[in-house]
Symmetry: C2
């Protein structure tokens, strides 16, 4: 009998990981599941009818995957309704005389934004490069104006998520910062490295102490255009939109569980988030992560692996605008006194996998990372690397259980071409790249389940 860590074990594991990849690339149903999610359950923002369809659909898929049990876990989500109207137009120069000095911009209201309703907001536009600029300009320059946040994502960041992280504060906090200094609205350059006509929505947050002013994203091409005319002209902008909060609703995390044969109290969770912004199909964000997670189970079944530890597959609800699902999952888990040995989230798209990033409580991260690093030779030939870093929003609340938190890292170059847009559709996902993502996840889960992290 081979002892843990012997070369016989390694040979067996290498072959097993090859089997996992072969199965993923030849037998998996993931792309078909994604096709259903992105056509029949488009725009599945938490609390919407299509979110509920996605709950029912993924539950029905789970019911075919030989779990010990499947269930729906209720959570209370805040709804938000885009409404029918969202319009931003600009006029500049002697706009009463020249038609070409009037332009309608490509915009999307940001999630949680209030709308203007029947009272359009018209004001002069002032361009800034960030929240600090607003503070520096002060009330004198900002009051009565619409603030245009135009700091672009940094193209020299190799990992585009870092570029996103360096720019998204404008989208999340820009409206309240504008209102703090008397601004009457805020628009933001879309969070993408591409220059095109697609606006990118996403969540924004109001500070309760300031007025709630309307907040929209404009396409990068329009941001460039607006910035150019602002050099020499006074530009007036009119915002009309009728988005609004939609109250609370009950929605669900969808959970499938396989009880571990040897260590049932050590839980390994694999997940993605089921909700997606209303405007697109949520193919990469995060339909890919959902079918990746279902795919891990399909592949483990397919290669005949019986987990020693308890494996849960979770479709988290409401990541995009509230994180109700992730918080509720952790709350219930803590209440039951559970221990999650590991949690792996796929929420960075269905692109070719490049590796994993590992996070965790400071008490455990170093030893756990050292443990998994020993497996890297088994995964390097698949082009995968390990690093420490973030994991996933939905599994973050599990950190206090002192398990290992893991994020799948697909190649990030194209992610923000699609993120939160109308073009995040099935055809943006390559079937093989999707399958390889799940194969990478399955390989790592197999190793953690088989050997543990001690």
């Amino acid at each position: 009998m081979a002892l843990r860590g012997t070369s016989q074990d390694q040979d067996f594991d290498a072959l097993f990981i090859k089997d996992i990849h072969d199965y993923a690339l030849t037998e998996s149903s993931m792309y078909d599941w994604l096709a259903y999610l992105t056509t029949e359950c488009k725009g599945r923002l938490a609390g919407s009818d299509n979110a509920e369809k996605a709950v029912a659909y993924t539950k029905s898929i789970m019911d075919t995957l030989h779990f010990s049990s499947t269930s729906l876990q209720p959570c209370t989500v805040n709804k938000w309704d885009r409404g029918d109207k969202e319009s931003v137009r600009i006029n500049w120069g002697d706009y009463t005389r020249y038609e070409d000095q009037y332009r309608q911009l490509n915009v999307l209201s940001l999630g949680n934004s209030v709308g203007t309703g029947d009272d359009p907001v018209t004001a002069e536009v002032i361009e800034v490069q960030g929240l600090d600029d607003v503070e520096a300009l002060g009330r004198e320059k900002i009051e009565g104006k619409i603030v245009f946040y135009n700091r672009a994502m940094d193209p020299t960041q190799l990992r585009t998520f870092n570029a996103y992280g360096g720019a998204v504060d404008q989208r999340v906090h820009g409206a309240s910062k504008a209102a703090e200094y008397g601004g009457v609205g805020a628009i933001v350059r879309s969070m993408t490295l591409r220059e095109d006509d697609h606006p990118h929505t996403g969540t924004m947050v109001y500070k309760e102490e300031f007025a709630k002013v309307p907040n929209l994203a404009i396409s990068t091409n329009d941001a460039n255009f607006l910035s150019e005319i602002l050099i020499g002209e006074k530009v007036m902008m009119t915002i009309e939109n009728d988005c609004k909060p939609g109250g609370e609703a009950i929605s669900y995390n969808v959970i499938g569980e396989i009880i571990g044969s040897e260590y049932p109290d050590e839980i390994i969770v694999i997940g993605g988030h089921l909700d997606a912004w209303d405007v697109g199909a949520g193919a990469h964000d995060d339909g890919a992560g959902c079918v990746h997670s279902l795919g891990v189970i399909e592949i483990l079944n397919g290669v005949g692996y019986k987990p020693k530890r308890t494996i849960r597959c979770v479709m988290f609800m409401n990541e995009e605008n509230g994180l109700a699902g992730g918080k509720e999952y952790a709350r219930v888990s803590n209440e039951k006194g559970e221990y999650h040995l590991a949690a792996l989230e796929s929420d960075a798209g269905g692109f070719v996998p490049r590796g994993f990033s590992f996070d965790g409580h400071t008490d455990v991260l170093k030893p756990f990372y050292a443990r998994v690093s020993k497996w890297l030779p088994l995964l390097e030939s698949y082009g995968l690397y390990f690093t420490t870093g973030g994991s996933g929003a939905d599994i973050g609340p599990l950190k206090s259980q002192k398990g290992l938190l893991i994020g799948l890292r697909p190649d990030s170059q194209r992610y923000f071409d699609y993120h939160h847009t109308t073009i995040d559709q099935l055809d943006a996902v390559n079937k093989r790249e999707l399958e390889l993502g799940a194969a990478a996840m399955t390989s790592l889960i197999y190793l953690i389940d088989k050997y543990g992290l001690e």
Copy 2:
């Protein structure tokens, strides 16, 4: 002064390579050049008007890039003309009565194939899984039939080029193998891992001793459909096409040269091929490789690097159906007694770069590979690996000069979705992925130029 290989050198090189990447991601013109090539010079098969436009266009770009000199190197290419008609239809069962037992397939004639002209070929179809099958079935089963080669590319190959290499013999040699046993035509499953409706063209070769029978590719969806009905039915097929050889023409390699400041007799060539199959825009194959190669020079200029060795940028002509450009370049070079220290080709698409493969004469490959491997730590943080393997078709003829031959290895998962199809268009190329490819190439060329390979 820092000696070669000191840590000061490494720090400097790391910073310089970062500059190279920053420049590529912020200042490069590559995507604009590719946009021109793929819109104004589509379908630039050697000898065509659009190939000549591409010659003139890339020469005009070179003339802006501060080369010591630019030139056109004549080469004699064999033309081939697709003609206006290419049709394959099948009938099966009691096809006189049921309309749905007749179907027109999605096809493309293969490069170099003869056409049927005004005499359509109608015959029964026989499915085989490869050239060996035809030999095993023999004249008794093959004679008078149209042979349908349907062995799929192997989806379990992680590098899709390996899957292509394992299936493409059916496309290249299938027609003559069929004719050898009395077959009257050959069709082949398209060389792709996707299941869709796009047929993939490509080159085929006749053996002079056998009859030249018409040869076309059918889409993978149609191949699957045809294979299914062949289980229970006799299927008749009618081929009509009017492709034909178009005689010889003079075309050109486009060459830009920077004379090295210290070792002008050590030449480093960077190239891609300018010709592309007639049906698409040649965005990935090989517009990307052409603009990559021009991009290397643009970036070196942009970061202010003056080469010690002679750098040549070459747009090779006629890779797709004859390799006249690559052969002529090597012939002239050998005639002049030149020495190419290194040759790097980009002909695997404009996808995110994963690394380089190194090839060369057995006298030099081992020491040269050992030398470049010392630089890997400088490139690993960009997600790049080194391996031995193939380099590029156009630079292959330089092997006898005993320099290092290098192929860029972009991620290969999507390459055969587009290869030799109508959909190999600009929108299939992501701007950042393209730019990162050129940055990787520039980084390696910088190191080879600076340190040599001794």
